[in-house]
């Protein structure tokens, strides 16, 4: 007498019977129930059918084929039920949604892992914190700007080649054809917005998103973030500007920072400078390289005149730095696109 092992009922068969009954009787009248059903039976982690498949490995090899067929049939049956239920729900339209009482109170989920502020937020907060310590207030402005604030009031003449320094996204054509509405190319228009509403002394920084119509690569993105700084008062000098930025760099990068101020050009500051810091890197000839971190200068008298401030009595300085640039230096990041890819394996590190 021999028993055909392939037809003998196994403990797993009994479980399959139970699950099958459950599948056939589970309620499927709302989207929520459908979702609960899917998770209960077909969930990839802890679904009942998934679980049964996992147990199949423990069954005697000769029975596995038959069990596999039963399980596949079971899975198909569950899938059929959920498909037809969802089709019915979709057909019944919005009333399906009302089955779910969204007005019930929520439940606060426990964190699964620590959350993270984006590295750009962290860098920005570090920058803001340092300048707050020096008595700077924080100002904000719109990202959609007009020609006056983004260019003209900042002493970019209507036909000045300096307008080509910043590749601009236009929403409306530049004057004289249009109003020249743009996505702001820098945070400097906040200087104008602040000075239009506040008399000296002014001491602000203005963080925000800016846009440049440039090809996207590891070193440039179509948008980035800047922190603008503006100080206007009696007796403000270029030496004050140098000292402030030097102190900022020491606070931000820590310890002794070797810094240099190079003459440069921005229409809204004069004299203008670009600031580099020495970045030690033993792989480089010379043991490192100069890295540009910001642009700055004394507020051009035309800018003050444009907002009705006496440029003989008041002087000021302004500076602007790229938050991405600072974050890349700070965290040793070599590709700007990482900031906008939002890969959690990247975000998790900060």
């Amino acid at each position: 007498m021999s028993t055909d092992p392939t037809t003998e009922a196994t403990p797993l068969d009994a479980q399959i019977d139970t699950v099958q009954t459950e599948i056939d009787t589970a309620p499927l009248t709302s989207a929520d129930e459908a979702e609960a059903f899917r998770i209960r039976f077909l969930g990839r982690k802890s679904g009942a059918i998934t679980d049964l498949f996992a147990q199949m490995g423990a069954a005697p090899p000769e029975q596995r084929r038959a069990l596999g067929q039963r399980l596949n049939a079971l899975k198909a049956r569950a899938q059929d039920r959920i498909d037809s239920a969802q089709a019915a729900l979709a057909a019944s339209g919005p009333s399906a949604a009302t089955d779910l009482d969204l007005t019930l109170p929520g439940r606060v989920p426990a964190p699964l892992e620590p959350g993270t502020l984006h590295p750009l937020t962290q860098t920005l907060q570090a920058i803001e914190g340092i300048f707050r310590g020096f008595g700077f207030s924080i100002a904000h402005g719109p990202e959609i700007e007009d020609d006056w604030h983004n260019f003209t009031a900042l002493n970019f003449g209507p036909e000045h080649p300096a307008r080509d320094m910043q590749d601009t996204f236009f929403l409306e054509p530049p004057p004289p054809e249009g109003r020249g509405v743009v996505l702001r190319t820098h945070t400097s228009p906040v200087q104008i917005r602040v000075l239009e509403g506040q008399k000296p002394p002014v001491r602000i920084i203005a963080p925000g998103r800016v846009f440049r119509n440039e090809a996207i690569s590891y070193k440039s993105y179509c948008l980035f973030h800047q922190v603008e700084g503006l100080v206007v008062d009696e007796g403000v000098t270029f030496a004050d500007l140098k000292a402030m930025l030097h102190t900022f760099a020491r606070a931000f990068f820590g310890g002794d920072v070797t810094m240099r101020f190079r003459p440069s050009f921005f229409p809204f500051t004069e004299p203008s400078a670009e600031v580099d810091i020495w970045w030690a890197d033993e792989t480089k000839p010379g043991g490192g390289q100069w890295m540009e971190i910001l642009g700055c200068g004394m507020v051009d008298p035309n800018v003050l005149d444009n907002v009705g401030i006496d440029s003989e009595r008041y002087t000021g300085y302004a500076f602007g730095m790229g938050v991405e640039r600072m974050a890349m230096l700070r965290h040793d990041i070599s590709d700007i696109r990482l900031f906008y890819e939002n890969d959690v394996r990247f975000l998790r590190q900060f």
Binding site: D32, E35, G43, Q86, G93, P94, A96, A97, D101, L102, T103, L104, P105, G106, V108, P109, A110, P111, E113, P114, G115, T116, L117, T121, Q125, R132, G135, S137, H140, P142, E143, E145, E159, P161, M165, F170, L171, L183, P201, R203, C222, D233, G235, T237, A239, A243, F261, R262, P263, S264, F265, E270, P271, A273, P301, Y340, N342, D343, V344, R345
Partner: protein, 849 residues
């Protein structure tokens, strides 16, 4: 702008290396962006002396040479050149040298070959006697290069060349020229800065400039119809020119800075432009109809073929150069094909003009052309530099092409340049810079870059009075009046300098920014510092969400137009605004401004799900945009506000030793959101189930505060999940963060209220209602009815099933009452009865028995 180091040294002597010079220029406003070394690598090449030659025993064309390389013993070298002979001094690549030899397979290419001791047809060879092309010095491969007899044996070949004045190496400095430095777009311009910075003299080539008039004016004429656009037009004529290849020195200069040599005449015009900064144009005089040139504006609908062979539609009003028949060039941008100098040209007309910068910039923009000429004209060339540059070119053309300069010059000059004089106050220099620069240093620095600087006398009382009248302010002018300043004249090649501050910048950059000391302290105005209260609210919100395990995202503000349209729906906001698109997108994928943070969130979630991430909790705060009529908006016609989005997907809880795995649902998201909003202390949030279905959400709940739309809470629809390839349901909430922040804004700090010392009383209330009755409104009813004693109400049970009638559910509430006194049971019971009565009336509820 590429500057050749060798070329630069024609105009200024310097001991500095190219690198040191680059640093010096960087620190004075001409930033070195890169440096490239040109010329062959001659390491390992030495001067050899061929002592003896004999035929190779196994090869007819090869010669065995005994060569003295300056070592102890002469060596044997096999040579294939026909011209090798005993007694010659020759360049020898010694063993171990790598040569870049011309490729046999690909003409024009070079391949690296390492020279080593070897046997050639059975005879030992130690090195290689080189031809010109093998050293990278030229194209000659007719035979080995034979050096001068006195060449020292064993000397490095590079040293020999240098001693002979045949420097082969050059360094090219790539300088970033800012828009305020048109003077630095030439070798002489950069040399002027070098001379000023190193205390040397600028050496400008001496040029005999013909006088206005003379034979030239009889042989050609220039008529300017538009003097504002063309203040000056200079022309000279060279006859009897043979157009041909340029000499090596000229080709070398142009090649070094990346310009392709074309012919002697064209090369000279390019050379002089790069030397002086003045763009020139050479015409074939015989092709100029009537030998007459006219400057005028184009009419509507005209076309013109430029010398690159392209026919171009001319925007109306483009300033053109014409001859008796028609146009021959777009002023300041590019010449025409027809009048171009060709191989058969013998008589050349050289043009050097001053064009109005704005005119040229407009034309170049409208035509979409930027040329070396337009680049310089739109920044402003020296308005007085045309005679020098044209004469320089004319002499060179005559010299190189064997022609004769026609005496005299054509100089149409309707608007002479008027020099600018400014008064520089040393006190103002100190006020701006924060350091004292001595008067004599100011004068010295300015003179070095072409200014004149004289001590100005104190102004007279008349001048003072006039100034006060003009400036309408007394005090500063009075101070100025008593201060003797420095009267300076701005050189014509610095059109960017118009004001005192412009001169102060020149002083600062030449004095050296690093010479300005940092003060030890700096004054701070005594105004309270801080962020806006709204921004502080958003920071707080962000921090709390991070505490719940959310990760902050930054997504692109620019989205495809189709995405913008799809997400511009009333389903997401209370009103769908018209979308905002850019006129000049980078690509169609980034043509519109995002109307919502949802597409970015879905993209980020799909990106991470595709990479194996399951538990996703994300948050973003960013601007969203639309068109709207709002007179209060910073830019009329546009709306933007900060939006807050939360996203949740995957497990809400993982399998643990005493916990079961559970997938997130909408209530996890609602719990997280309400938890953080609760902390902000907002006014009551009203939950409104939507009446209209939407395409983007499977179901959603609208949140309102004080009748204003705050945002929505929803599950992403299946169709949208498919569209984004999402692998698990996504729950999200998008809220108007600006509204949130303004509602949460507090005037002043929280005021303490005393803590009750009396115990609270808790009561449970279980009611049965129809299944369709939402619980939220019942909670609201309880809060409104229970009165001020109610501290808190929770839902602690929800039941559907056998123990209650079909189509109904049981909802159990826990209420907590407290007061600053002992509560009596009857008092609380009374409240409960009242609550029950209203629940019955409003929601058809009955007490569960």
């Amino acid at each position: 702008m590429n500057i050749s180091f060798n070329w630069l040294r024609d105009y200024v002597e310097t001991d500095l290396s190219a690198e040191a010079l680059g640093d010096l220029l960087t620190m004075s406003g001409l930033e070195l962006e890169g440096i490239e070394t040109l010329g062959p690598d001659l390491d390992g090449i030495v001067v050899g002396h061929v002592l003896d030659t004999r035929k190779h025993p196994n090869a007819d064309r090869l010669t065995l040479c005994t060569v003295d390389l300056g070592g102890e013993e002469p060596v044997q070298i096999v040579c294939g050149a026909p011209n090798v002979a005993a007694g010659q001094k020759v360049p020898v690549a010694t063993n171990g040298t790598t040569l870049m030899l011309p490729s046999r397979d690909e003409p024009g290419e070079r391949v690296a070959v390492k020279i080593k001791r070897s046997k050639i047809r059975g005879e030992e060879s130690n090195g290689m006697i080189c031809a010109e092309d093998e050293l990278g010095l030229g194209d000659d491969h007719d035979g080995i290069l034979v050096l001068k007899e006195h060449a020292p044996v064993g000397q490095p070949f590079a040293t020999y060349l240098a001693d002979e004045g045949l420097a082969t190496n050059d360094a090219v400095l790539d300088l970033a020229i800012t828009p305020n430095r048109p003077d630095a777009t030439s070798h002489i311009g950069v040399a002027r800065d070098v001379a000023a910075l190193t205390n040397r003299s600028l050496i400008r080539p001496e040029v005999a400039i013909p006088e206005v008039g003379g034979a030239a004016t009889e042989q050609a004429s220039v008529t300017i119809d538009v003097p504002d656009e063309c203040p000056r037009f200079v022309g000279m004529i060279v006859r009897g020119v043979t157009v041909g290849e340029s000499p090596a020195w000229l080709k070398e200069r142009l090649n070094a800075i990346g310009l392709r040599p074309i012919s002697n005449v064209v090369d000279v015009t390019n050379f002089v432009m790069m030397e002086t900064g003045q763009p020139l144009h050479a015409y074939d005089l015989d092709k100029l109809a009537d030998a007459a040139l006219y400057v005028r504006k184009s009419q509507q609908g005209e076309r013109f073929t430029t010398l690159d062979g392209k026919q171009r539609a001319l925007p109306e009003g483009t300033v053109m150069v014409a001859d008796g028949d028609g146009y021959i060039g777009i002023a300041g941008v590019m010449g025409g094909a027809e009048s171009e100098v060709s191989d058969t040209t013998t008589n050349v007309f050289i043009e050097g003009a001053y064009w109005d910068p704005v005119t040229i910039r407009r034309a170049a923009k409208a035509l979409g052309m930027q040329t070396d000429a337009s680049y310089r004209f739109e920044r402003g060339v020296d308005p007085t530099g045309q005679p020098y540059a044209v004469a320089r070119a004319a002499h060179l053309v005559a010299d190189l092409g064997g022609g004769t300069l026609v005496p005299g010059r054509i100089d149409a000059h309707p608007k002479p340049h008027e020099p600018i004089t400014l008064t520089i106050r040393p006190s103002r220099v100190a006020t701006i810079l924060g350091t004292e620069v001595p008067d004599e240093d100011i004068a010295r620095l300015l003179r070095a870059i072409g200014f004149t600087a004289e001590r100005a006398e104190s102004r007279t009382m008349d001048a003072f009075a006039e100034e006060v009248m003009r400036a309408e302010r007394l005090v500063p002018a009075a101070e100025e009046a008593v201060e003797a300043g420095l009267a300076v004249t701005v050189p014509p090649f610095r059109p960017d300098i118009e004001r005192e501050i412009d001169v102060i910048e020149e002083i600062a950059r030449l004095w050296g920014y690093d010479q300005i000391p940092d003060p030890a302290t700096t004054p701070i105005p005594l105004i309270p510092a801080g962020d806006t209260p709204e921004a502080a609210v958003l920071d707080q919100l962000r921090a709390r969400l991070v505490g719940l395990g959310f990760r902050e995202l930054y997504t692109n503000s620019l989205v495809p137009t189709a995405t913008a349209e799809q997400f511009t729906v009333a389903e997401l906001t209370d009103q769908a605004l018209q979308g905002v698109e850019t006129l000049n997108p980078i690509s169609q994928d980034m043509a519109a401004m995002r109307p919502s943070l949802l597409p970015g969130l879905l993209g980020a979630m799909a990106y991470n799900q595709a990479r194996g991430a399951e538990a996703l909790r994300v948050v973003e705060l960013g601007h969203v945009y639309g068109r709207a009529h709002d007179p209060q908006a910073p830019v009329e016609g546009y709306h933007e506000h900060t939006s807050l989005i939360l996203g949740l997907s995957g497990p809400a809880q993982r399998q643990g030793w005493d916990t079961d795995a559970r997938d997130a649902d909408i209530f996890d998201l609602k719990g997280a959101l309400m938890h953080v909003l609760d902390a902000l202390g907002l006014p009551e949030i009203v939950e409104v189930p939507p009446t209209e279905p939407g395409a983007l959400t499977a179901y959603r709940l609208v949140l309102e505060v004080q009748g204003q739309h705050l945002g929505i809470l929803a599950r992403v629809s299946d169709a949208l999940m498919d569209q984004y390839d999402l692998q698990a349901p996504v729950y999200f909430a998008e809220l108007d963060a600006d509204l949130l922040a303004s509602l949460a804004r507090r005037e002043g700090p929280t005021r303490y209220s005393p803590i009750s010392r009396f115990p609270a009383v808790e009561r449970d209330l279980a009611v049965v209602v129809a299944d369709a009755q939402p619980v939220g409104p019942m909670l609201a009813t309880i809060r409104q009815t229970a009165g001020p004693l109610l501290q808190d109400v929770r839902v602690f049970d929800l039941y559907r099933g056998d123990r209650i009638e079909g189509g109904h559910k049981s909802v159990a509430f826990a209420l907590r009452f407290a007061a600053d006194r002992t509560l009596r049971d009857e008092e609380v019971d009374g409240r409960i009865r009242k609550v029950m009565k209203v629940l019955e009336r409003e929601h058809n509820a009955r007490l569960r028995s």
